[in-house]
Amino acid sequence: MKIINYSSILIIFLSISSCLIEENETITNASLDFSFSHSQICLPDTSTDNKLLLDKLIYSLSPDGSIIPELYSVKNLNYLISNISLSSSDGSNFPLEDIYFVDALNQTSLTLNLGEIPNNIYTHFNFQFGLDNSINLSNNFVNESFHTTMAWPEMMGGGYHYMKLEGAYQNDSTFYNTHTGPSMGVDYSFMVSKEIALNVDGDLGDISFDLNMIIDNWYKNPNDISFANAIMMDMQKQMQFKMNGMTDVFTIELNK
């Protein structure tokens, strides 16, 4: 009789504890958040708040930090990144998001929750700036929010812009349009791989990365590019922007 009573208690205990174990198991991985920030120039003093202020004319900086006497502002910034992933020390790749559209004027686009990532030692954060030509086709993403904003006319190759960076330079009333994309059907998208040190082992809670775009550097290194217009059919300019973008436009910071 006593044995049976003890077994009843044991079964009840098991029934309760089994639920607890199940809930604990669901939170062993880390949740990954992402923020997108933008700096117009790269200040040598990193303690200074360097966030992009839209529509504000400021001086450009040379690579050594000295002021280049050219004022410019940013009024509009949209871009697409794709094939977002984390790669790990064992050579595996963990895909995070296929395509993401960033609109600097739309706060909700500046944060991205990528959900849980499995335990691993991650060494690189990777993404493609723009879209690969295999998917960058006219009307390929008609139901995506970027379809109308980023469409690239078939006359010039078709598909979608990689980036629309617009503003004024020299003065308030002289505008530049830095529009990069698949000029005449040539793929100028490029991979960016940033080194990180992220050891996800058990429950780390929320992890937050910040991907920062230093806008000034699109025009600096290795190619010195002026704020010109009508570059959508200029294949040389598109290549120069690609090279600059691969060099030092993006930085990444792990917030936790």
Binding site: M1, I4, I11, I12, S15, N139, T148
Partner: protein, 366 residues
């Protein structure tokens, strides 16, 4: 006793982790007479009003090439009956105070449901201050009116009926007029299964009709399908439109020929008489920004711009060719401000000729 306690424990073991919501059986079809909001599992018990035989026919929208799926609210799905009812309401002057002005009074089908007048006069002989927008492919718009003051077609349709410079009626009065019409009573019953015609269902029907106004049968569309050829002039205009030479595509791009955004296109050098989006958002950076209209059927929709200041397409092209006027909120896409596009007369003519290939005659003659 011991055996029962064991059974009890085993039952606990099995069910203790279940967190499923309670299943409530019943009729889940809102159109049924015995529909209940409490039910979350349809048990096949729905009963329908057999006297009026309430049954609607879905109105099928075929998504045109290069268009997104149409944005249709869950609570106002398209039906053949709804579209027809909306068409009648759209043309019914009883929606106005003195029964003299219908929606069609300012949105004439011959003009792609716009007005040939710069401004229109309301029932109290008060002149409006904006050009009546063309109604075309509205189901793919994400906001309505030149200033984006309405976010759905249903919301938009609410406004003109009570606007003092338009139809200047009250919804109570309009509802009363329509409820006294036995034909409408039956139609609303058959369309929405309601016993009283109210403003909510009036605007729902109008919105359904407006979503049915789809135009994709222009010479341009036929050319895209390989059915016709464009002339050399039209092709050159197409090239100007779709490259940075004319740079029309950044706002009037994709197969919809609009971007669902707001821009200040350099009409005025400050001292704006109409703040447009700025009036709605309260943000000075939005002053003088207006919603991009599609240029499909643009040949039929003059006069042009939010205030109808340009009578002809040639004047519109000349405005952009001049580069426009600088102001603090002008769009940086107007990058030739102060310089101009510097198109030749032939190029301007080609551009106009291309714009005319976007005319869908079947749309205005339906």
């Amino acid at each position: 006793m011991i055996r029962w306690s064991l059974y009890f424990c085993i039952a606990l073991l099995i069910f203790s982790c279940k967190k499923d919501p309670e299943i409530i059986f019943g009729c889940t079809d809102e159109n049924a007479v015995n529909w209940t909001s409490l039910a979350n599992f349809d048990d096949g018990s729905c009963k329908y009003d057999s006297i009026n035989n309430y049954q609607t026919t879905p109105y099928i929208i075929t998504t045109p090439y290069g268009f997104p799926d149409m944005l249709i609210p869950d609570d106002n799905q398209m039906t053949v009956e709804g579209v027809e009812l909306g068409r009648q309401l759209f043309n019914d002057p009883r929606l106005s105070k003195n029964n003299s002005l219908s929606c069609a009074g300012c949105h004439n089908q011959n003009n792609s449901f716009s007005s040939p007048n710069q401004y229109n006069v309301g029932v109290d002989n008060i002149m409006g201050f904006r050009n009546a927008s063309a109604l075309i492919n509205l189901g793919w718009n994400t906001s309505f009116n030149w200033d984006g003051s309405a976010l759905t077609l249903e919301e938009q349709a609410f406004e003109p009926v009570t606007n003092p410079i338009e139809m200047h009626d009250t919804w109570q009065n309009v509802e009363s007029k329509l409820n006294n019409d036995s034909n409408y009573f039956i139609q609303f019953k058959n369309t929405f299964n309601i016993e009283y015609i109210d403003s909510i269902h009036i605007v729902k029907a109008i919105a359904q009709f407006e979503r049915s106004l789809i135009s994709v049968d222009s010479k341009y569309d036929k050319w895209r399908k390989g059915e016709v050829q464009l002339s050399l002039s039209e092709l050159n205009g197409y090239a100007i439109f779709n490259t940075e030479k004319g740079d029309c595509f950044h706002c009037h791009g994709t197969e919809m020929f609009m971007d669902n955004l707001f821009h200040n296109n350099g009409l005025d050098a400050g001292n704006f008489l109409d703040l447009g989006l700025g009036n709605i958002s309260g943000n000075p950076l939005d002053n003088a920004k207006f919603k991009t209209p599609t240029v499909r059927n643009v040949e039929f929709t003059g006069p042009y711009m939010h205030d109808g200041r340009f009578s002809t397409l040639e004047e519109v092209v000349e405005h952009y060719n001049s580069g426009g006027n600088y102001s603090t909120t002008i769009d940086p896409l107007m990058k030739k401000v102060g310089i101009g596009l510097q198109l030749t007369n032939n190029e301007k003519n080609d551009l106009v000729n291309f714009l005319k290939t976007l005319s869908d005659n079947s749309y205005i003659n339906k």
